[in-house]
């Protein structure tokens, strides 16, 4: 049998992860109506053929509900990680190029945000912004940019001093050409992979503050709400209420990690011929 090229395999893995995540997101949207339907004639059913994940005490189909919850989580993650990564890119570049005073202010803010435990800051910000969708997105966005910003700042500082950039100047390349040809190829993969690897954090943090009651409101089919409600029924033997949504949440997070890692491998020239 012919051996499959490692690069092709990595690209395939990336494609599958993205496809699966897209399916969850779209599927959740399609079934959004069904997820809130209550039917007391089918309450507390264990997983069976027609209800894969079983039903809860209000007769809601847990499969559809989990899918919708994850879809919501992914959309929140997308928004929060996107805002967070852009913030990181902006502050990282500003910090590295605008002189010492700006640099020390930005670095100080990074240290400050990093110094406070994530979840604490998240709860404070989310609560201050009125909880709900808005609170969660603002909270996650404002707490997750720091490490990427520090990475980008370091990268730009290093690039500015790189010998090959000095040589490019002597070869008559304009600052714009140098930025485009020499800096972007270094920053873009860092940014993109950083962005994707922010998702699992964003999703887990969204789920956890919702679980703790500082995030999305209880009537929304969010994964955090599902998990926190299921806790009350776990002792009564309704194991499926926590197990399947929990597993699917872990799967989603792992898939984002797989997507980010395989993209990093594809973009890194040192592994161009794996």
């Amino acid at each position: 049998m012919r051996k499959i090229n490692g690069r092709v395999r990595t690209a395939f893995l990336f494609g599958m992860a993205v496809l699966f995540l897209a399916l969850i997101t779209i599927g959740g949207q399609v079934f959004a109506e069904e997820a809130v339907v209550t039917d007391f004639s089918r309450k507390n059913l264990a997983p069976c053929e027609s209800y894969l994940f079983g039903t809860d005490w209000m007769g809601r189909d847990m499969f559809v509900r989990t899918l919708t919850g994850l879809s919501m989580s992914i959309r929140i993650g997308l928004l929060a990680a996107g805002v967070s990564a852009l913030l990181a890119l902006f502050l990282g570049i500003v910090s590295a190029t605008m002189g010492k005073a700006v640099d020390s202010i930005v670095t100080w803010i990074i240290d400050l945000v990093m110094g406070i435990p994530h979840i604490l800051l998240l709860i404070l910000i989310s609560y201050a912004c009125g909880k709900g969708f808005r609170g969660v997105v603002i909270g996650v966005s404002l707490t997750h940019w720091t490490s990427l910003a520090r990475l980008i700042r370091g990268e730009v500082l290093q690039l500015k001093e790189a010998a090959y950039i000095k040589v490019a100047r002597k070869l008559g390349l304009s600052p714009w050409q140098i930025a485009w040809k020499h800096m972007v190829p270094h920053l873009f993969p860092q940014f993109l992979v950083g962005l994707i690897l922010l998702f699992p954090h964003a999703i887990l943090h969204e789920a956890s503050i919702t679980f703790l009651g500082f995030g999305l409101s209880p009537e929304q089919p969010a994964i955090g709400v599902i998990l926190s409600e299921s806790m009350q029924y776990l002792a009564m033997g309704k194991w499926w209420l926590a197990l399947f949504p929990g597993l699917l949440l872990v799967l989603t997070v792992v898939l984002f990690d797989v997507a980010g890692e395989s993209l990093r491998k594809l973009l890194d020239p040192n592994s161009a011929h794996v």
């Binding site: 790189a162 010998a163 090959y164 950039i165 000095k166 040589v167 490019a168 002597k170 070869l171 008559g172 390349l173 040809k181 020499h182 190829p185 270094h186 020239p269 040192n270 161009a272 011929h273």
Partner: protein
């Protein structure tokens, strides 16, 4: 054209060791000058000053009587560095590295023994000697008037050294490019150069 370094003083930072002290050198395009000195006497630093990478503390670098820093765009004085892996962007393929040069002639690329197969590779996939050929080719652009070769062959085996040097000497002679060659090896400089200067002695005219 004449490249002239006049009474150069240099130190890194404001309280670093005085590396260059009142050093002067004049180089015409008909000459190949060898520069010799023990380690730590500032051979590389002098090349960087002469190519405009570093500003001297005192003194000036003149090209045809005008300060080199006044030349905009392509710099007629090109330096070839000792460590080629530092002066190529690890994220660019070798053909893009060559594209940075100024209208490179195919004959230069062939003369240096660059194989077509290497052009699609990344720097990490070539050896130091292979990379150095690209750096030499890139420096030999159309508007280059002076070449500063800073220990360009120290990492190469003898056969490759002789191949590269004989091509470089032939090329600069044909095109009338002035050459400053820095090396620890006196026999090499005696073979390659028309004149040898010692940085250790300080001021030479």
């Amino acid at each position: 054209m004449i490249l002239e370094a006049k009474h150069i003083f240099f130190r890194y930072g404001t309280d670093g060791r005085q590396i260059l002290k009142d050093f002067s050198l004049k180089l015409t395009q008909k000459e190949r000058v060898g520069l010799i000195a023990p380690s730590g006497f500032g051979k590389t630093t002098f090349c960087k000053v002469l190519a405009g990478y570093e500003k001297p503390e005192e003194g000036e670098v003149l090209l045809d009587g005008h300060p080199l820093s006044e030349y905009r765009g392509y710099c007629p004085v090109q330096m070839i560095w000792q460590h080629p892996e530092q002066v190529v962007n690890p994220r660019l393929r070798m053909k893009e590295v060559l594209a940075e040069g100024d209208h490179l002639k195919q004959q230069v690329i062939e003369g240096l023994g660059i194989e077509p197969d290497w052009l699609n590779r990344y720097p990490a996939e070539l050896s130091g000697g292979e990379l150095q050929r690209f750096c030499i080719a890139r420096a030999l652009g159309e508007r280059t008037q002076f070449i500063l070769a800073d220990e360009i062959s120290t990492m190469l085996d003898l056969i490759t050294q002789s191949q590269i040097w004989s091509f470089l000497v032939q090329e600069v002679e044909r095109r009338g490019i002035g050459l400053l060659a820095v090396s620890h090896s006196t026999p090499l400089l005696e073979r390659v150069c028309t004149r040898i200067e010692n940085l250790e002695r300080g001021s030479v005219s």
